[in-house]
């Protein structure tokens, strides 16, 4: 079996996001970037499956600017065998990424495509689903447990009501939840070895995919500041305030 894992470079989850003064986006200059956290879970799961003898090759792919390659390099350091970097500058929407991934799937012919359930920058939660539709493959989203059974996958999904276990046919798309596993650390010798693993660079336009945005972004602004709370003297005052001021009861 061959697993293709898509990883995305995003602003590190510890960084406090700042909106640009002109409202055109968020500040990314001098900001620490990292791999999208659930993508780390996707890589970890693929590597574990390979280590368990059920997969032969793990290929990490990213779509994005020059520096996005760092995320592929990190995937290689924790066990992916080789990498692909599809270079695109500028804004990338989930549809464009799915179309690029579709082309790569046509070429690479993986049995499984893993990725994070969503990216923490735009929170779209769409790429996996769109790719599934484009390829007409089954999908299992929000996976917190994956079992490979012959040519089928048994996947436990994190849903609003609790856990749902489904069985799907391979080839398939799986989007991974943070509960799926605990990603390993990249060890220093493995980081060294990763520097020698191959990364194929592809220019998006060579794939014949139109990556131009379909959405027009009007404005980015900070959420309104929360007002300080107040203390009330008794229940009667609380009820009165909820009724007349907050107007929630």
């Amino acid at each position: 079996m061959k697993i293709l894992v898509a990883v995305k470079r995003v602003i590190d989850y510890n960084v406090q996001i700042r909106v640009k003064e002109d409202g055109t986006g968020v500040v990314t200059d001098n900001v620490k970037m990292s791999t999208n956290p659930p993508d780390d879970n996707a890589i970890e799961e693929a590597v574990k499956i390979k280590e368990g003898g059920k997969a032969k090759e793990v290929v990490a792919i990213t779509v994005g600017e020059e520096k996005a390659q760092e995320t592929v390099r990190k995937a290689l350091a924790v066990g992916a065998d080789r990498g692909i970097h599809v270079k695109v500058d500028g804004i990338l929407e989930p549809l464009a990424v799915s179309k690029i991934l579709q082309k790569i799937v046509d070429k690479e012919k993986p049995d499984l495509v893993f990725m994070g359930k969503q990216a923490i920058d735009d929170d779209c939660n769409q790429t996996g689903q769109m790719l599934s539709a484009l390829l007409n493959w089954p999908q299992a989203t929000f996976a917190s447990k994956i079992d490979i059974k012959d040519n089928k996958l048994e996947v436990t999904r994190e849903i609003d009501e609790g856990l749902e276990t489904i069985e799907i046919n391979v080839p398939a798309i799986v989007t991974c939840d943070l509960r799926l596993n605990e990603p390993r650390y990249a060890s220093l010798p493995n980081i060294m070895k990763a520097k020698k693993k191959p990364i194929e660079e592809i220019v998006a336009s060579d794939l014949g995919v139109d990556v131009s945005p379909r959405l027009e972004q009007l404005k980015v602004e900070e959420p309104p500041k929360r007002k300080a709370g107040i203390k009330v003297a008794n229940v009667a005052e609380l009820v009165q305030k909820l009724k007349n001021e907050a107007k929630v009861i």
């Binding site: 960084v15 406090q16 200059d29 001098n30 620490k32 605990e182 990603p183 650390y185 060890s187 220093l188």
Partner: protein, 539 residues
């Protein structure tokens, strides 16, 4: 426990200006040397914090063509001001009356973090292997006692010291020479100074704590290239410190405050002095209407020449502020740190090629401009132990009339942890409430640093005696850790009338102040799991 090991010609600990300059110079001298550099932060620059007005002297020597290499050194100093602050008034001191060391017209306003990121790119281009996210946690010795290298921190240990599923053992990095460039109060440097008695015959080291905030301010208040320093309020005559305000590019100002850690009153809160300072009319009018976008703090070296330890030992060198090369009256340590690293590289190259002893560092250092600079600056900081006014008068005589050549050397008498007076002999200080516009509490400040430590790992602030804070330090000094820590790591919590000393180590911004100022030296800072700590942007 078996650990993998990797061998290099030179292993460098720390990706600041001194470590990176060592690495670059080594590869320039001999491209075939195998050089690796470890950095505890998640990326180069993420733990770097500095003013910074940059003197290019060392960089001009290291990379003479830096102007053509898209370096982040862009904003030339165009104007200077020096203010003495009273409580509401301010007095401008003519800059022509400032000693030459404090004149900045040839210098640049930069972000040292960005400079380090750029230096790291230059180093990598030359073939240096840089490993961010790997703190060196342990010094390795050969049987003859010489330094053999370092071991990196184990990853994946839980808070009780047990291995988690993700456990990844540390690696031994062995160097023919190991260079320690951890910055002020490096936790390995501290051990080396002790083991090899590097500070024998030297004065006790002196430290300060520096705060920095980046503000985006109104166009009309912004003067790109303006450098302003203040002395005086809110500190009293006996506390050493002052502020800086540098008008950088993109409508940003770098606003900061430095306080000597030899202060005496345990009720003094350096953080709150900085916050209060911003409410002075001369400062407030500049930042009013602006927005604070970054915060950070870091201890710095102030001891200079008298406190500078020996920088060589068998198998290793100590460079930059891991030793203490900052020039205090100049308020600059980046160019001196870089130069100390460059001298280290020359020393190592001769050591490896011609089998010369590492002690040749001493002579090279003594024949360099770095030594001359530190020597001439030596009497300024100790003179301020007589108070601000006498300090200024003496500094005027020493620096303007004699240019640092007075035929005596003043001593630093005490280590900073010895200077606190018992709480019952000192006045309490009432700090104003935070207004969340100009002044802010520690929690919201730490939030801006992007600090994180993976949870479920051992506390990296070790107490030699866990009962001492409550049984002694609270009683005698009102536990000053609550106040000197700029990140709110230490708290005294009352539970059923019983006092508890709480260490919120996940908030730690790696400034090292506790390791320095704790009156009984009861707190030891050790490395947390890799990548832990702040994620500073352009600090």
């Amino acid at each position: 426990m078996s650990r993998e090991s990797m061998e290099y010609d030179v292993v460098i600990i720390g990706g600041g200006p001194s470590g990176l300059s060592t690495a670059i110079k080594l590869k320039q001298l001999d491209a075939n040397l195998n050089v690796c550099l470890l950095e505890k932060a998640s990326e180069i620059g993420a733990h770097i914090l500095s003013g910074n007005v940059f003197e290019t002297r060392a960089l001009d020597e290291l990379l003479p063509n830096w102007r053509e290499l898209n370096s982040p050194i862009k904003t030339k100093v165009t104007k200077e001001k020096f203010l003495f602050l009273g409580k509401t008034k301010s007095l401008s001191w003519p800059t022509w009356l400032l000693p030459a060391v404090q004149q900045n017209h040839k210098n640049y306003i930069i972000s040292l973090a960005n400079l380090c990121r750029w230096l790291a790119e230059q180093a990598e281009t030359l073939g240096v292997e840089i490993f961010p996210g790997f703190p060196a946690s342990e010094i390795l010795y050969n049987e003859d006692g010489s330094v053999k290298g370092v071991a990196t921190q184990d990853m994946g240990i839980d808070k009780n010291g047990n291995k988690k599923d993700s456990f990844e053992p540390g690696i031994e990095l062995l160097g023919k020479v190991t260079v320690f460039a951890e910055g002020c109060r490096g936790h390995l440097g501290k051990q080396l100074i002790e083991n090899f008695e590097l500070n024998k015959g030297k004065d006790p080291q002196q430290y300060g704590i520096g705060f920095k905030e980046i503000w985006e301010i109104d166009d009309k208040n912004h003067e790109e290239g303006l450098v302003m320093h203040t002395a005086g309020w809110p500190l009293d005559n006996n506390t050493y410190g002052g502020s800086f305000m540098y008008h950088a590019e993109n409508k940003q100002i770098f606003l900061g405050y430095v306080i000597g850690l030899d202060y005496k009153n345990p009720y003094l809160s350096p953080y709150d002095e900085f916050q209060r300072f911003k409410t002075h009319p001369a400062i407030k009018k500049i930042i009013e209407g602006g927005k604070r976008i970054s915060y950070g703090a870091r201890a710095l070296i102030e001891g200079g020449f008298q406190s500078l330890p020996k920088m060589f030992m068998p198998g290793a060198l100590l460079v930059g502020c891991d030793a203490g090369t900052l020039n205090m009256p100049k308020i600059k340590g980046s160019h001196t740190a870089m130069k100390s690293g460059m001298i280290a590289a020359e020393t190592i190259n001769e050591h490896l090629k011609e089998k010369k002893d590492l002690s040749i560092y001493e002579n090279k250092f003594k024949n360099s401009w770095l030594y001359k600079e530190l020597y001439e600056a030596r009497n300024v900081k100790p003179s301020f132990s007589w108070g601000l006014i006498l300090g200024i008068i003496f500094t005027g005589i020493d620096q303007i009339l004699f240019r640092g050549k007075l035929p005596f050397t003043l001593k630093h008498k005490h280590a900073d942890h010895e200077t606190l007076k018992p709480a019952n002999q000192m006045p309490k200080i009432d700090y104003p409430k935070y207004d969340n516009v100009i002044t802010f509490d520690k929690t919201s400040s730490v939030y801006l640093t992007g600090t994180n430590h993976a949870d479920n790992q051992p506390v990296h602030l070790k107490l030699k005696d866990p009962d001492l804070p409550i049984n002694y330090t609270l009683e005698r000094f009102n536990e000053p850790a609550q106040r000197y820590c700029p990140a709110g790591v230490y708290e005294i919590q009352k539970e059923n009338d019983i006092n508890k000393f709480v260490i919120n180590s996940q908030n730690c911004i790696h400034c090292k102040t506790c390791d320095i100022k704790e009156p009984s030296q009861n707190i030891t800072w050790v490395t947390p799991e890799g990548s832990g700590g702040p994620r500073y942007g352009n600090m």
